[in-house]
């Protein structure tokens, strides 16, 4: 039982050792010259603009919420896809009804302008 975990345990140990050694060598031998530029947050090499945390436009929430809603429904497609052959035409009809219900929500969101960016 415990032996099965031994391999994982050894791996965790080795990985953390390698990490510690790499960081440790750097801090011991590396030169330390602290400049303003270095202390600034790293933004892919560009000069940082503005504060790191700022308000996100509320439209993103709307898009995110819509995404979650329509994305999570795929969870029902997976079991259906696996049993597709056994379920046959009946399963297909049921799935089409399900998609039709989703479509109602989609048309509603569309018509209400939730998909417009501006």
């Amino acid at each position: 039982m415990l032996l099965e975990y031994a391999a994982i345990g050894i791996m965790i140990l080795v990985v953390s050792l390698i990490g510690l050694i790499a960081i440790g060598l750097g801090t011991i031998f590396g030169p330390k010259r602290q400049t303003d530029r270095k202390a600034a947050p790293y933004e892919s090499g560009m000069t940082p603009i503005g504060p790191g945390i700022r308000r996100v436009p509320v439209r993103f929430y709307l898009i995110a919420v819509l995404f979650i809603l329509f994305d999570i429904e795929v969870v029902f497609f997976l079991p259906w896809a696996i049993a597709f052959r056994q379920l046959g035409l009946f399963g297909l009809a049921e799935m089409l009804i399900f998609i039709a219900i989703l479509l109602v929500g989609y048309i509603y969101a569309w018509k209400k302008g939730a998909l417009e960016w501006e």
């Binding site: 009946f90 219900i101 109602v104 048309i107 509603y108 018509k111 209400k112």
Partner: protein, 482 residues
């Protein structure tokens, strides 16, 4: 999958399809003609009601016993559809007056109603959970429907947080029940308990968690703290619908799950439920006395009424009184639905924009200026107290009888004493209307007046001839599952 499967679920399916179509149709209705959506929603409810009436007396199971059609579900379906009709009638003018006439109101309400009806028909724990969420999520939206009014938004968020908290309890209870019995279908749970293969302690934990979760939904003390805030902050039309509908659906699920699946746990659960019932009656009635806002007062009163209904539920494990307990609980649900809709209707008539006209003192002078409304309100207050000649009295008599026959005389005594106590705050409204002088302004709307008048009439007439309704409630039995 046969036609019978779909036949068992026909009312819920009709309503759901209608709500989906209505949501789309509403997009193409001009905003000046929003009334059309309400009328279409009413048509949908009437069609569904026709389907339900045609199913009267039928018994069937469908979808591998996930859905049942029996007297109990049929009774509740019709009661819930009535709730929906009354809900639209009181909302129609109110929403326009308060500037919240958005077309989504009616489809969302129909979705919630479909969830409530599914709850009455569910015989599988997955279905019960889905139904619980289908009824709750639209209600969260409706509670916040008057946005950007801060009270309404706040009510929505509070209801949402505590509602999902309670769903978490129900869900965990279901998980424990599944772990104890290895089945999610109520027949399977019953079979596992009968075989003795069920893990009793796990089952008890599961049942207790489910009880807690539904205790939140029906606003039983000590899980009632959201009720006053939500009832006060939500638009009054929503509050009226929520008070009657969510309570009926919550009790439907409680009755079905506990009476059918968990009667063997009654030794352990009955003491807990009786304490809950006593606490709910006492807390609801005592705190209501101190209220000056009519919406808050009615909210506490609805907590107290949940306590009375719980009283019928205490003896659920005793087969000798089970039938009469269920029947009296159903009867009281009808009485409460009719009466509370009437009372909320009067509140709606007096409410003005910006939450004005909601203090109990605003009712002063009603008796002189609006004798019809004042008389109706008096009937509703008498009925909620349980005084003659009203339906509330008959309902309470049946409930007390069920409690006494089940051997819970202490509870019945607490019920009577708290009812006497409640007279204090209910009759204060009546005193305000008739004995004090004031100049209230009332909005006259045809459908609202009709609702108030009809519910007042029903409250009085049904109290004279309650036997038919009670006989019907006694026929509303659970289907015998194999």
């Amino acid at each position: 999958m046969t036609q019978l499967d779909f036949y068992t679920l026909l009312p819920v399916m009709t309503l759901t399809i209608w709500a989906c179509v209505l949501l789309l149709v509403d997009l193409f209705i001009l905003s000046e003609r929003r009334g059309l959506t309400a009328i279409l929603a009413v048509v949908g409810l009437l069609v569904t009601m026709g389907v339900s009436i045609s199913q009267m007396g039928r018994e069937a199971t469908g979808f591998n016993q996930m859905i049942v059609l029996d007297g109990f579900s049929n009774f509740l379906n019709l009661l819930l559809l009535l709730t929906g009709l009354l809900g639209i009638a009181v909302a129609y003018g109110y929403n326009r007056r308060m500037g919240i006439e958005r077309g989504e109101y009616y489809p969302i309400m129909l979705f919630s109603l479909a969830g409530m009806m599914l709850m009455a028909q569910a015989s599988h724990l997955i279905m019960i959970f889905i139904a619980l969420e289908l009824l709750s999520i639209p209600l969260y939206v409706l509670a916040a429907f008057a946005y950007p009014r801060p009270e309404s938004e706040e009510a929505g968020l509070k209801y949402f947080l505590l509602g999902s908290f309670s769903s978490g309890f129900v869900l965990y209870g279901i998980a424990m029940t599944f772990g104890a019995t290895g089945s999610l279908a109520i027949p399977g749970i019953v079979a596992a308990i009968a075989d003795g293969t069920a893990n009793t302690s796990l089952l008890l934990i599961g049942a207790a968690l489910i009880l807690v979760g539904f205790g939140f939904k029906v606003a039983a003390a000590p899980f009632h703290m959201w009720t006053p805030d939500v009832y006060q902050g939500a638009p009054t039309s929503v509050t009226a619908f929520m008070a009657a509908g969510a309570k009926a659906a919550g009790f439907a699920a409680l009755l079905r799950v506990f009476v059918v699946a968990f009667p063997t746990l009654s030794d352990q659960l009955t003491p807990i439920i009786s304490v809950l019932a006593a606490l709910t009656m006492i807390l609801g009635n005592v705190i209501a006395i101190a209220q000056t806002d009519i919406k808050r007062m009615l909210a506490y009163s609805s907590i107290a009424q949940a306590g009375y209904m719980l009283m019928a539920f205490v003896a659920y494990g005793n087969p000798a009184v089970q039938a009469v307990s269920v029947a009296s609980a159903l009867f009281y649900m009808v009485a409460y639905t009719i009466t509370s809709f009437g009372a909320w209707g009067v509140v709606i008539a007096l409410e003005k924009a910006e939450g004005k006209g909601l203090a109990i003192s605003d009712y002063a002078g009603m008796g002189k200026k609006y004798p019809f409304l004042a008389a109706c309100m008096t009937v509703f207050m008498l009925s909620l107290t349980g005084l003659p000649p009203t339906l509330g009295l008959i309902g309470k008599l049946y409930l007390f009888r069920a409690a006494v026959e089940g051997g819970f005389i202490t509870l019945a005594v607490i019920g009577v004493v708290t009812s006497l106590l409640s007279a204090f705050y209910y009759l204060r409204v009546v005193v305000n209307m008739y004995m004090k002088t004031g100049d209230p302004e009332v909005a006259r709307e045809t459908w609202l007046d009709f609702t108030i008048g009809a519910t007042a009439l029903l409250t009085v007439v049904l109290s004279v001839v309650p036997a038919g309704l009670f006989a019907w409630a006694s026929q509303a039995l659970f289907i015998a599952l194999k």
